[in-house]
């Protein structure tokens, strides 16, 4: 096929626009030389340079030349297409051009940022421009397709982020499915007593939102459930949700808790997950009195009936509403939604990984999450800070950065530990009158009212020692140290090593991705950062979007975050999802695969290869058929087709070969 035929109106007229990107590009590449070179290339009718092509005046340069009929195809040599390809395509479309008669040459990330030597950088930029010009000549005037959007939303994770996103979407009139893995919503926030820096009661601000979720006519709440499978694409996802049996009928149970009273186990015997193991529960239980929904759950792992088949089932006997159902089975629900918000949260760092801190060895070494339960009025000690021997500690050490800022565990700063350590210091000091020592590397309090809170703590006479704790151990050097845990650390501001005897150690553990974050990311086809946090589309400009359209992120699954930030992000994710849904349709990129039927031999190689099940087989014609709405343009089938019948828009053989030749011929 000749290039001339590929042009809509006769000979192609290519405009080349080279961007300086301030000094990002122009500092290394001789832009003028690139422009002069571009003018010599076949089919180029205009070549120009400009400081910032992405700015309005930059875009107007293109638009003017298009309108004046000087050009019909555009090459912009600037940055990565990730950010600004849509910008320039939009600019072309706005003045009647076809946005796909466009190609970007990335001379910033691929050239100026990675080359120091000006001469060779300029040469490489020329080669990339030559390639783009050769390629764009073969571009076809493609059209985007539109598909309608389902207006329902799936929100995964019922912590504060998921709750806030769900309520926002539901209040806007959307139907929301909120799926939570635990028997109750509330997440980590439900475990806290107070929140920093205002010290307002966590339960007082969270439980009203939890009951709103429960009562909202637009929200379907599925707890004890997990998303098993996702199919489809933006605007039209199909999800399969696995609902684990609670062995208690949610519709019948009114949360009177008689059954728990009646259980043959007279006392709790099994580790209470909600109290992070600091108390014991029965096989039938509710996680905490404000659990939502307030429905009892039977844990088959510990229930006598499930384990031995022999039990009087006193729980079932006592339930007047006959809510207990030992025959309940797992259920799979299928739903269709237009958008998904992931709010799957975090887990805390496993403190036993740092042997020097004695967690698991000394019973008076606690993690911060455990202490959150101890200071909680609804916790195992009724809010009193008591040691295992029932006494109040007289001296407490709080160790910051446990599992954070360390090459051997997690390199990143967990962002919330300084502030929650201050909060715990305050609460422990208030409840026990103990001397509290904070051991920190750097105090990080960037937030509204945070530094003021730090100020307040210092005035409350809490001790601050700038030094990472070297060791928590029980060998005494002085009589005062006998029978105590000794914290050894350098007081770096003084320049001396100190040994501080304490009765209780609190390890301020960092935040980590959920253990199954990688599985979840695969299921939803999104990306993770190296640490395992879900990756946002752009760290600044698209912080709640993912690289998969229609899937948004909220809260700590994207990275460590405190409550205000989680809520803000949840609101943002809801707004982005709403904006997408309210458009009523989504436009699909035309970079899909297509079959040239005369070449297709019907070998079916491609059918099972497609990761998105977009290829079906027409048995009457004996040809493969691509569903353009499902095709994501990954190119797998194109590469696999033995007869060359499969081609992909924007990546046809001639486009790619010409691009390669552009580079090779120039070099």
């Amino acid at each position: 096929m000749s290039a001339v035929n590929a042009s809509p109106n006769g000979t192609p007229k290519v405009g080349v626009y080279v961007c300086h990107c301030g000094i990002n590009i122009a500092g290394v590449i001789d832009v003028t030389k690139v422009v002069e070179f571009a003018k010599t290339l076949p089919n180029v009718t205009v070549a120009q340079e400009y400081k910032f092509m992405c700015s309005d005046p930059g875009q107007e340069l293109i638009q003017k030349d298009l309108k004046d009929g000087k050009i019909d195809r555009v090459v912009v040599a600037s940055c990565s297409p990730l950010m600004h390809e849509p910008t320039f395509r939009r600019a072309m479309a706005a003045c009647g051009g076809n946005p796909f008669l466009f190609q970007m040459a990335n001379i910033r990330e691929h050239v100026s940022w990675v080359n120091k030597e000006k001469g060779s950088a300029t040469e490489k930029a020329k080669a990339l421009v030559a390639a783009a010009v050769r390629r764009v000549v073969f571009h076809k005037p493609l059209q985007k397709t539109q598909v309608p959007v389902n207006s329902d939303v799936l929100i995964v994770g019922g912590g504060i982020s998921g709750i806030h996103a769900a309520l926002t979407m539901a209040d806007a009139g959307r139907k929301v499915y909120l799926v939570e893995r635990e028997p109750t919503i509330g997440g980590h926030m439900a475990k806290f007593d107070k929140t920093f820096p205002t010290l307002d009661c966590s339960a007082c601000i969270l439980t009203p939102k939890m009951s709103q979720v429960r009562a909202h006519p637009n929200i379907t709440l599925w707890t004890y459930s997990e998303v098993a499978e996702i199919e489809g694409y933006v605007g039209n996802f199909k999800a399969r949700v696995r609902r684990k049996p609670k062995y208690v009928d949610e519709g019948l149970c009114v949360g009177c808790l008689e059954c728990i009273e009646a259980c043959i186990f007279k006392k709790g015997k099994f580790k209470d997950e909600f109290n992070v193991g600091l108390s014991l529960r029965k096989p039938i239980y509710v996680p905490f009195p404000q659990a939502t929904p307030l429905v009892a759950v039977i844990d088959p792992e510990t229930c006598a009936f499930f384990r031995t088949g022999k039990c009087k089932q006193t729980c079932a006997e006592v339930c007047e509403r006959k809510a207990i159902d030992f025959n309940q089975k797992e259920e799979i629900k299928e739903i269709n939604v237009g958008a998904i918000i992931l709010a799957t949260g975090f887990k805390t760092f496993d403190a036993s990984r740092i042997a020097r801190y004695g967690y698991g060895k000394y019973p008076t070494v606690y993690t911060s999450l455990e202490v959150e339960r101890l200071v909680n009025a609804a916790g195992p000690t009724g809010g009193e800070v008591l040691l295992p021997n029932g006494q109040k500690p007289k001296a407490v050490g709080i160790v910051h950065c446990v599992g954070s800022r360390d090459e051997k565990t997690n390199r990143y700063c967990s962002r919330v530990c300084c502030m929650y350590s201050l909060k715990l210091a305050h609460l422990i000091h208030e409840r026990t009158g103990a001397e509290v020592y904070n051991f920190y590397i750097d105090m990080r309090t960037p937030g509204k009212g945070y530094e003021e809170f730090y100020d307040r703590l210092m005035k409350e006479n809490v001790h601050f020692i700038r030094g990472r704790v070297a060791e928590v151990s029980d060998w005494a050097m002085t009589p005062e140290e006998e029978g105590k845990l000794v914290i050894r650390a350098e007081d770096t501001l003084v320049g001396a090593v100190r040994r501080i005897p304490v009765d209780m150690v609190v390890l301020s553990v960092g935040l980590e991705p959920q253990p199954d974050a990688d599985e979840v990311r695969r299921r939803f086809n999104i990306s993770c950062s190296t640490e395992g946090w879900f990756l946002e589309r752009h760290p600044k400009l698209a912080p709640v979007s993912t690289f998969t359209d229609g899937i948004f992120l909220a809260g700590a699954c994207q990275g460590p975050k405190d409550i205000p930030d989680c809520v803000a992000q949840a609101g943002a994710a809801a707004a982005e999802a709403l904006a997408m849904i309210d458009r009523g349709h989504v436009e699909l990129e035309p970079n899909t695969a297509f079959v040239t039927e005369e070449f297709c031999s019907g070998c079916k190689t491609c059918v099972p290869l497609c990761p998105y099940s977009a290829i079906s087989f027409d048995t009457s014609k004996n040809k493969a058929v691509v569903n353009g709405a499902l095709c994501k343009g990954c190119g797998t089938c194109v590469a696999a087709c033995p007869s060359g019948a499969l081609q992909q828009n924007l990546f046809t053989d001639e486009e790619i070969f010409n691009e390669i030749e552009g580079v090779v011929k120039y070099v």
């Binding site: 042997a355 020097r356 151990s473 029980d474 060998w475 050097m477």
Partner: protein, 299 residues
């Protein structure tokens, strides 16, 4: 398989008891060893402080000699913690840093030697547990160390930074062996804390203080004796007790023996063959021990 035995300088002098007992125990366990012919000093901590390349060259000569002995899979038995570390460090740096490797290779060639990196450096603790196994050791026990409370002390350089055979923070190999011998082990937090190394000889106050801290803690936790796996640790902890007594008020005397001496004892080998006569602080009486404690000699 024969292990190439690298005694190191200390085992020919202050650590002779280690040398003797290790050989006896190997014989008893049928572990064939062959002393590395014409081995040289490992360089210890001092060499590194003066000339890094020569320190690596010293170790490289030993490794080259050892490699020449075995055919491609030399296992080198290194009982001294300082030698163990020095050789391991050279091994790691030769692998990690091509510049050092290049230099050392050339120097070795000038001396008619070559090293390809295939020697495995192993401590006897590692060999006894991993290669010989606790069952074989147990089978050899004739007079169990019943009633003896042992504080196992590893010191620093044996586990840090290179030992892979045991946990850096809480090693347990020696405890395993002691338990197999019938002894009781105490749990204590100082088993990998530094004894002061050569500071006892240079800045005595400081060196002694470090050894003193270790001994008192072992005493406090009810240990009858301290078992060591390093000649310098043994020397520091044992031979300066008189001075620690005067200076810091160390309470009485604490026997400090090589773990190999204790193995030999449990195997029923003679005191003399194990070098026990060389100890400054005698071990608790055997009979008293067998009777289940109570009358331990504690100096």
């Amino acid at each position: 398989m024969t292990y190439v035995y690298f005694p190191g300088c200390s085992l020919t002098s202050t650590g002779r008891g280690y040398h003797e007992s290790l050989q006896e125990v190997c014989r008893a366990l049928e572990v064939p060893i062959q002393e590395l012919e014409d081995w040289n000093c490992c360089g210890a901590t001092s060499y590194m402080a003066v000339d890094e390349s020569k320190a690596f060259a010293l170790s490289a000569r030993n490794l080259a000699l050892a490699e020449r002995l075995g055919n491609g899979s030399t296992q080198m038995m290194v009982p001294c913690a300082a030698c163990y570390l020095g050789l391991n460090k050279a091994q790691h740096y030769l692998q990690e840093f091509p510049a050092i490797r290049g230099k050392v290779d050339k120097a070795l060639a000038a001396a008619g030697l070559a090293y390809s990196g295939r020697v495995q450096i192993r401590h006897p603790l590692d060999i006894f547990i991993k290669d010989i196994g606790r069952d074989k050791i147990a089978a050899r026990v004739a007079k169990p160390l019943a009633g003896l409370k042992v504080a196992c002390y590893y010191g620093c350089q044996l586990v840090r930074p290179y030992a892979e055979f045991d946990d850096q923070h809480n090693p347990t190999t020696m405890e395993t062996i002691m338990t197999v011998l019938g002894a009781e082990v105490i749990d204590w937090p100082l088993k990998t804390r530094c004894c002061g190394g050569s500071l006892t000889g240079t800045i005595e106050d400081v060196g002694l203080r470090l050894s003193y801290i270790i001994l008192t803690e072992a005493q406090k936790r009810g240990a009858d004796l301290v078992a060591t796996a390093c000649p310098l640790c043994q020397f520091n902890l044992e031979c300066y007790q008189g001075k620690m007594n005067g200076r810091f008020g160390l309470n009485g005397k604490v026997p400090v023996a090589y773990f190999t001496q204790l193995m030999g004892l449990a195997f029923g080998l003679s005191n003399k063959s194990l070098g026990l006569n060389r100890l400054f602080v005698p071990l608790p009486e055997r009979r008293a021990v067998a009777a289940g404690g109570g009358a331990h000699v504690r100096g």
